[in-house]
Symmetry: C2
């Protein structure tokens, strides 16, 4: 049951991510190609799926959440392009292909990221879907706050600031709350907004997102612990495993997952697909 | 008369640009400092003033346009930070001070630009001012379209693509239409939207903006023609003067100015302050 829904949603997301790209014709056609290169590079689409699943769980028609779901994926994609730049993580590859700046040059990758971030807000303001201006404004407010200086970008700043010094558990949590959980929060909350959900459900979605985001990040560290090719492990960066030890980190990811699933109580039986989705995410082996 | 209005508006813009910055406390306090460093670096505030003047000319209370005016200035400021980066123009100075990346490092400058762009949409969605959700959505749609892949960022792409080859007049016009005029268009149109202006006035504002933007850019080339320290002149980049000759370029700037001023006819007597402002901009000597 849930699997059929995931498949249908994923296909809709893939189609919408491409269809919603800026047209950019004539002299600008190469810009469109650069954006699609990164947008279509085969991510797991976790964030847009969460937006659709929350819209569905809150009793809305999930098709209405597609523009919001795409907006979050555009923001996620821009953040990866800028993160890969030489002045940041300097990653030559992303999902098995040359990263944007290796493919198109640094300046073009910078612009591609800027264009994707800007277009995310175009999708919120002008994307198709039966959502009112008030819902669009609320979605734009959530995304801009959660992706900005006090959200995702703030988390990236902290990450940089601790590049060459040891981070304790408190800093790790603060950083990942911002860097990872904020954009997941935006996805979950925007799904609720598209459904016209009440504040109780929106707050439950936040609670789910923050705990899932942290569980997700700790799980990453656990999976990477034995991966000597991983750059964080190689560079001796602080991780949940290095700070808390493997067993404690495993216990932490279980605790956060439990809290995330508990928050879904606000959606009653309608939260079933989300429970399944969260389970899949946190039991993954790569 | 007009001068007193300009002064009052400019003071309001300066205050609002600072007050509307993300709070970013604790670990994130340095992010706020980085944003304010660029926001408070003494620009002419041409775009926010145009937003306020158009709101006023369309019969609105220009205070209501302040969040939109700030949003445009945040976008302008982000574009300068990213433009100055080593992979773009590689400028060490901006308005007589070290550019953002010289002051804070490349990675932080990249993030500061990203944060400003994101926050622009927060100001549209959540900024104070008596504007409806529908007006906010319309403003977000205009700004995201005009600042994105098919607008300002598209213009920067063309600029890069012609960095090492000669551009004819057609390419110069296409580039500056996007790179410079689009954000001016956003400012003028968003001022009208804040006033609840009809489509006739909005279209007149577009017409004004596009012509003013081109006149402004050609004027820049004329002023820089004798400035041997200017990087475009030094690098032999195509300019309106190199393509059309000095006299023809002077005639062009006068033609575009005339068209811009003619568009203000739609605002009747209320367009007077804008006529004065346009005259000041285009008769400037530096």
């Amino acid at each position: 049951m849930a699997d059929a829904l995931f498949t249908e949603m994923l296909q809709s997301v893939e189609r919408a991510v491409t269809e919603n790209a800026p047209r950019a014709e004539g002299l600008l056609a190469p810009v469109r190609d650069m954006l699609l290169y990164s947008l279509e590079s085969g991510g797991k689409r976790v964030r847009p799926l969460l937006a659709l699943l929350f819209c569905d769980a809150a009793g809305g028609d999930w098709q209405n959440a597609l523009p919001f779901a795409c907006a979050v994926e555009y923001v996620h994609t821009y953040s990866l392009i800028h993160d890969d730049l030489p002045c940041m993580d300097n990653d030559d590859f992303r999902r098995g292909r040359p990263s944007s700046h290796k493919q198109f040059g640094e300046a073009n990758a910078l612009l591609a990221g800027d264009a994707l971030l800007t277009h995310a807000f175009y999708l919120i303001a002008a994307g198709e879907g039966n959502v009112s201006p008030a819902q669009r404004v609320r979605a734009a407010k959530e995304l801009s706050r959660l992706a900005g200086a006090e959200g995702m970008v703030g988390g990236q700043y902290i990450d940089l600031a601790y590049e060459n010094k040891e981070a304790g558990g408190e800093v790790l949590f603060a950083m990942d709350r911002l860097k990872t959980a904020c954009l997941i929060e935006a996805a979950c909350v925007m799904g609720c907004i598209a459904a016209g959900a009440d504040e109780e459900k929106i707050n439950a979605a936040r609670d789910f997102a923050v705990n899932l985001g942290l569980a997700f990040q700790i799980k990453d560290d656990l999976l990477e612990y034995n991966d000597e090719a991983n750059s964080d492990v190689k560079n001796g960066k602080s991780t949940y495993v290095s700070v808390f030890g493997f067993e404690k980190a495993e216990a932490l990811t279980a605790q956060f997952t439990e809290k995330a699933v508990a928050a879904l109580g606000a959606f009653g039986e309608n939260g079933e697909a989300l429970r399944t989705f969260a389970g899949k995410l946190l039991n993954r082996t790569k």
